[in-house]
């Protein structure tokens, strides 16, 4: 009974659309996002302090073993190294942290002799962004094209082989893929020397925009990227296939054929664009998780990304660094969710960016 007869509306230009998007709706979403981020900070803050052991204890242990100190000596040394009082009340620590955070100060790393957390994050983040980003880009692009091809020739040998292939890829966890790549391609078949390819970049190359450095970066990123691609491409392929199949059954595609349009035009503007709509949202959401990287993959390939930083921080109970990494990831996730909404509203004219979804 509620036929959605849309209120008459003058077709809008791009800029009008942007302006509309940036008022009302955005304000509300931003507030919601901030609230979520605050909740995450608070939650992780409490959680992190509840972890057994604190940075001082762990350092004390290390010192006792490595330098053969007595507990008291080790404690004094350790406590002096850190700008951190483990005995301060939780609430006080929290308020202190929040106050600094509001002024854009993520604090200093507890264990890495006072390096600002922000610097640390900025040092690790590019590696993750690069490797996961490239992986996501490749696997999305490849997945879209293969998925469409599978749908277009569905039932053919190509489709059957690719469906089986993508199911296999989709079914195997990413760290298993990583280990398989090392074990089978690296060790058994000896296609490449895995040992040389671990880490972020070769030690002896100088950082900078030169061939050697880029080559080294590429070489080291190859295995993680390969892992990310093979672990996610199957999912994109299968989703795109089913989305394309349902779009191919739409009447406007039949009508486009009836209008005598060229096959290429139909495939791009009529099938492809509509079939991709649901995937774009998912892509945007995945972008949020790009920032977090993958803890396990980075630790397998010793890749100096955010995931590895987080794991180190967890190991040494570096509270501020952990907190910082969690914050960055949450911000990225919230932002990418907003991005997903906006992109969808942008690509699908049926959805006005008005939050009425």
């Amino acid at each position: 009974m509620m036929q959605a007869s849309h209120p008459p509306q003058a077709p809008s230009t791009l800029s009008q659309k942007l302006v509309r998007a940036l008022t009302g709706y955005t304000a509300r979403t931003l507030l919601q996002g901030l609230l979520t981020i605050w909740a995450v900070i608070t939650f992780t803050f409490i959680l992190i302090r509840k972890m057994p052991g604190n940075p001082v204890d762990i350092k004390v242990e290390q010192l006792m073993i490595s330098q053969n100190l007595s507990y008291q000596d080790a404690y004094n040394r350790a406590a002096g190294m850190f700008d951190f009082d483990p005995d301060a009340p939780l609430l006080e620590q929290y308020l202190d942290y929040m106050w600094k955070l509001i002024r854009g100060d993520l604090g200093r790393s507890i264990t890495s002799s006072g390096t600002p957390v922000l610097d640390q994050i900025l040092r690790y983040l590019p590696w993750t962004l690069f490797s996961v980003g490239v992986g996501l880009f490749i696997s999305f692009t490849v997945g879209i094209f293969l998925g469409m091809a599978m749908a277009y020739w569905r039932g053919s040998l190509f489709d059957n082989v690719m469906t089986a292939f993508s199911s296999v890829l989709f079914g195997i966890p990413n760290y298993i893929t990583a280990l398989l790549i090392i074990l089978i391609l690296g060790v058994q078949l000896e296609w490449f020397n895995v040992g040389e390819m671990l880490g972020g970049v070769d030690q002896d190359v100088k950082a900078g925009f030169n061939y050697d450095y880029l080559r080294s970066v590429m070489k080291h990123a190859f295995l993680p990227v390969l892992t990310y691609v093979s672990a996610t491409v199957g999912g994109w392929m299968l989703t795109m296939k089913s989305s394309t199949i349902s779009t191919l059954g739409e009447e406007y595609v039949t009508v486009a054929h009836a209008r005598g349009l060229g096959r290429w035009r139909i495939l791009t503007a009529y099938v492809g664009r509509n079939a991709m709509l649901p995937l774009v949202t998912r892509l945007a959401i995945s972008i949020g998780f790009v920032v977090g990287g993958s803890v396990i993959i980075e630790s397998i390939f010793l890749y100096p990304g955010l995931g590895k930083l987080l794991l180190q921080a967890i190991g040494s109970r570096d509270y501020t660094t952990m907190q910082g990494v969690f914050l960055v990831i949450s911000v990225a996730v919230v932002a990418s969710n907003m991005l997903a909404d906006m992109m969808y509203g942008f690509l699908d004219p049926r959805i006005h960016v008005s939050g009425d979804r």
């Binding site: 909740a39 995450v40 199911s167 298993i176 280990l179 996730v333």
Partner: protein
């Protein structure tokens, strides 16, 4: 979860044989030789596999299948073309049981066919069954090789105790010279059980909360949606790592619970959406109008149309739980004891097996097992889709 004391023992075999007698005898009386034999074997097998837990339900199913082959509803009043006053609508309880048994039998046969129809799904089914039997029967067939061996198994000239596959040890030896095969057989059970538990917990939480959010709406809905958004914003695996260090897992079921606590939001959202859409269906409205009551609407009208979705989500949750569980062990974040596939990978990596060609089999075995198990689960969902399609039941 698996309370079989009589698994894979002679007594299990006896239980199975006794149970199998019932369908066998029914079948012989009805002159349905082949179904009788299959029914007997099915009972024998499930008795052997699960003791009474497997044998007793199998009696009913096998007998129902046997009956369904020869059942003719000659007394079904609905098949009569006589006028209403000449038809006897009363039915003796024997007839009623017989009729219901045969319909159960037909459903079972249709389900079996559905399981086999989809090729990929059937492969997945076989895979899942393989892992099930391996973890259930395996331990009683192969002894656990838990003690470290030193030089008694070391090959002359070798530096480590690792060994590649040989006739004596089909999957080779690990860093302490222990039989990898025995670790594989003994190490999968707990992993799979924990994963299944986690999957079940996830599904239960998600379905209940999703149903509450979808059916009640208003404030509970907003709270739950907000909570799920919140959980989904925190990076899952790092959070799990942090939580894992706080909680001490003296029992694996706690890990299953923790996994479920983190995993429910996605499924809950989907269930909520499903409930919202099912709630608007005309037949639900008709049931409301007929005043059939909320329990009826949930159990008879909404649930049957969601069951396939729920079961498939369960499978995907199990898959996710395997991923997280092995991942945690792999990073050394939870101190699980051997034998365990995750611990095998962890220890293998610690002991440098990653780059020793002769040690590959120690790492490859659990890796491939996990990969195959995950793959089987994904493929198995294809069959489940067919299995729960309501159209199938009528396609007899």
């Amino acid at each position: 979860m698996i309370g079989f004391q009589t698994i894979a023992t002679t007594s299990g075999l006896i239980i199975g044989a006794v149970c199998g007698l019932i369908p066998l005898m029914v079948g012989i009386r009805l002159r349905q030789w082949k179904p009788a034999l299959i029914g007997f074997l099915a009972c024998l097998f499930s008795g052997f596999a699960c003791g009474f837990l497997g044998g007793l339900p199998m009696i009913i199913i096998a007998t129902a299948v046997v009956i369904s082959y020869s059942y003719i509803a000659k007394d079904d009043p609905f098949l009569s073309r006589a006028s209403i006053d000449e038809v006897d609508f009363e039915e003796s309880w024997q007839d009623s049981i017989l009729r219901q048994m045969s319909s159960l039998g037909r459903t079972t046969r249709a389900a079996t066919r559905a399981l086999i129809r989809n090729k990929a799904g059937f492969i997945g089914f076989i895979g899942v069954m393989f892992f099930f039997f391996m973890t259930v029967f395996g331990p009683s067939l192969i002894d656990y090789d838990g003690q470290a061996h030193y030089y008694d198994r070391m090959k002359p000239g070798a530096i480590t105790l690792f060994q590649g596959p040989s006739r004596e040890f089909p999957l080779g030896l690990d860093y302490q010279g222990r039989d990898v095969l025995s670790h594989m057989v003994h190490g999968g059970q707990k992993l799979i059980i924990t994963a299944v538990q986690a999957g079940i917990f996830t599904t239960i939480i998600a379905v209940i909360l999703g149903a509450i959010a979808g059916l009640i709406g208003s404030i509970p809905d907003r709270l739950l949606t907000g909570l799920s958004n919140f959980i989904l914003t925190i990076p899952q695996f790092p959070l799990l790592v942090v939580l894992a260090s706080i909680i001490e897992f003296d029992q694996r079921i706690f890990l299953a619970l923790l996994l479920a606590v983190l995993d429910w939001p996605t499924l809950m959202r989907a269930v909520r959406a499903q409930v919202l859409s099912l709630r608007e269906r005309d037949y639900v409205e008709a049931a409301i109008s007929l005043d059939l009551g909320l329990p009826h609407i949930i159990v008879r009208e909404v649930l049957p149309n969601m069951i396939s979705y729920i079961v498939i989500s369960l499978i995907f949750s199990i898959r996710g739980a395997v991923y997280s569980q092995v991942g945690l062990v792999f990073l050394g974040m939870v101190p699980f004891k051997e034998p365990d596939w995750g611990v095998m990978i962890y220890m293998g990596r610690q002991q440098g097996a990653l780059f020793l060609p002769e040690a590959s089999s120690m790492l490859l075995s659990p890796i491939l097992a996990i990969a195959l198990f995950q793959l089987s689960l994904v493929l198995f969902t294809r069959s489940l889709e067919e299995l729960f399609n309501p159209r199938l039941r009528a396609g007899l």
